[in-house]
């Protein structure tokens, strides 16, 4: 059992995955740590990694010339950041910046996508979790839009 498996197993994104599935993910995974104000990704870069946030906080932002970065949402401990199932060479449309010391597990898409192609059962499990997370993020964003644009 390698060092990353318990970290993956305890993350909500991987809850109830079988030990064998966790091991296969661990083979792609590595840990990374971002200091406060360090960028995980920048707008316009190719989407090459999928992040599981273990601790800390990440801001999703769009930079404007006159007002600097405008913060849209955050990703907290237990959340994920990134996309599964997109077309190749898709680009980030936001910056992701660590607001405090943030520890993540990084799953490079090159490895992860190959794993999911070979193991569609695991692939379906991850896509389900991803879609459920997207739904949560989207629901929040819709309510944010209503609050902001209609002055609630």
């Amino acid at each position: 059992m390698t060092r990353l498996e318990p970290l993956l197993a305890e993350h909500p994104f991987c809850r109830d995955l079988a030990p064998g599935q966790i091991s296969r993910l661990a083979a792609c995974a590595r840990e990374r740590q971002f200091a406060a104000d360090e960028f995980l990704v920048r707008e316009g870069e190719e989407i090459r990694e999928f992040f599981l946030v273990r601790s800390g906080r990440v801001a999703l932002e769009i930079f404007t010339a006159r007002r600097g970065p405008l913060l849209i949402q955050t990703r907290e401990a237990g959340d994920f950041l990134g996309w599964l199932g997109l077309e190749p060479h898709a680009l980030w449309v936001v910056d992701a910046r660590a607001l405090e010391l943030t520890r993540v597990i990084v799953l490079p898409l090159e490895c992860l996508n190959q794993l999911l192609e070979e193991d569609p059962i695991l692939g379906y499990q991850l896509l389900k979790r991803f879609t459920q997370g997207l739904a949560r993020h989207f629901a929040s964003m819709k309510r944010q839009v209503v609050n902001l644009l209609h002055g609630l």
Binding site: T2, A29, R30, E38, R66
Partner: protein, 392 residues
Amino acid sequence: MATGPEPSLRLTLEEFAAFLADLRRLGFTLLGPTLVQGDFVHREIAGVADLPRGVGMVQEAGTFRLVPREDGALFGYPVGQHSWKPVFFPPERLLWTGRRTGRGWEIRLPPEDREPVALLGVRPCDLAALEVLDRIFLHGPYVDPYYQAQRNTALVVAVNCTVPGGTCFCASLGTGPRAAAGFDVALTEMLTGDGHWFLAEAGSERGRRLLAELPGRPARPEEEAAASQALAQAAGHMGRSLETAGLKEDLYARYEHRHWAEVAARCLTCGNCAMVCPTCFCHLVEDSLNLTGDRAERRRIQDVCFTVAHSYIHGGSVRSTPRARYRQWLTHKLATWQDQFGCLGCVGCGRCITWCPVGIDLTAEVTALRLPETPGPAGPEEHHDQAGASAG
């Protein structure tokens, strides 16, 4: 060192004084360096007596001090904070006035009666600065009529620098310490066993005619050689240097270099550097109205890119951080200026280094920017899984 087709003149101190008197007699308003309460200011002078005699300077980053000289030199110092830019590009200028009459508004240019000026003591770096300003105000698609009128009539008496300053770097930019062109007369002050004298060279037809009227005798070859040697020695004792090869490309590639944050931590964004720079040309355009609302004025006023307002468009400023603003000033002066005007914006006068209250030295900042960037504490830390990290 090649001189003009005519030999240079050797002028005694008295003959130099007579030269100044000639200029005034010809109707020029004579402007020269004067010392006013410890400040070097370019003002109208009546003659040699108004020049600061036996004065030297100590200049370093954030440091300016006057020191006495035993030799009674009239030009025994490099440049003070004043350049000659204000003569042609005044820090404040009325552009037009509007008068509201019964028929509506009428806009008029201000009356321009100006006496031609003669500039005494233009150092080679400041001469180079005027040529830079010419590219901006004379050779672009829009010509500034005030600048043009002043430039066409002004007489330039350059003074070569035998005493370099601690922050000077004209030699590495090729802008000094000897004036090559752009002057009517160039003087080199010499204090030798032979006395206090000047080597005078003509740089224009007007200069030749002026020198032809003077009583001084042609300089001997050994006198020309002595002057050349003094200037060569000055070139070898510059306080600073700046490598210009590849400068634009180096800066264009380093807009996100970590060093900008380091300078920003020191920079007060006070704008002193831009205010003493002989080539900075940013200006505000401001309209005003009198109390009774029947007279409007538009003025052009010196501005600096260090203010937050400089890059303001409704909604906010594009360069809101000190880091962005210092970077704008430096990259404009040394890099983008080259694409805009075909020359470097900097002339190596060193004023920005001397007059920065925290002693920021753009030659040192360029050196730091050109160092390879090494990953530091802000770099990402990666913890690799020892047992089975695979590239997938």
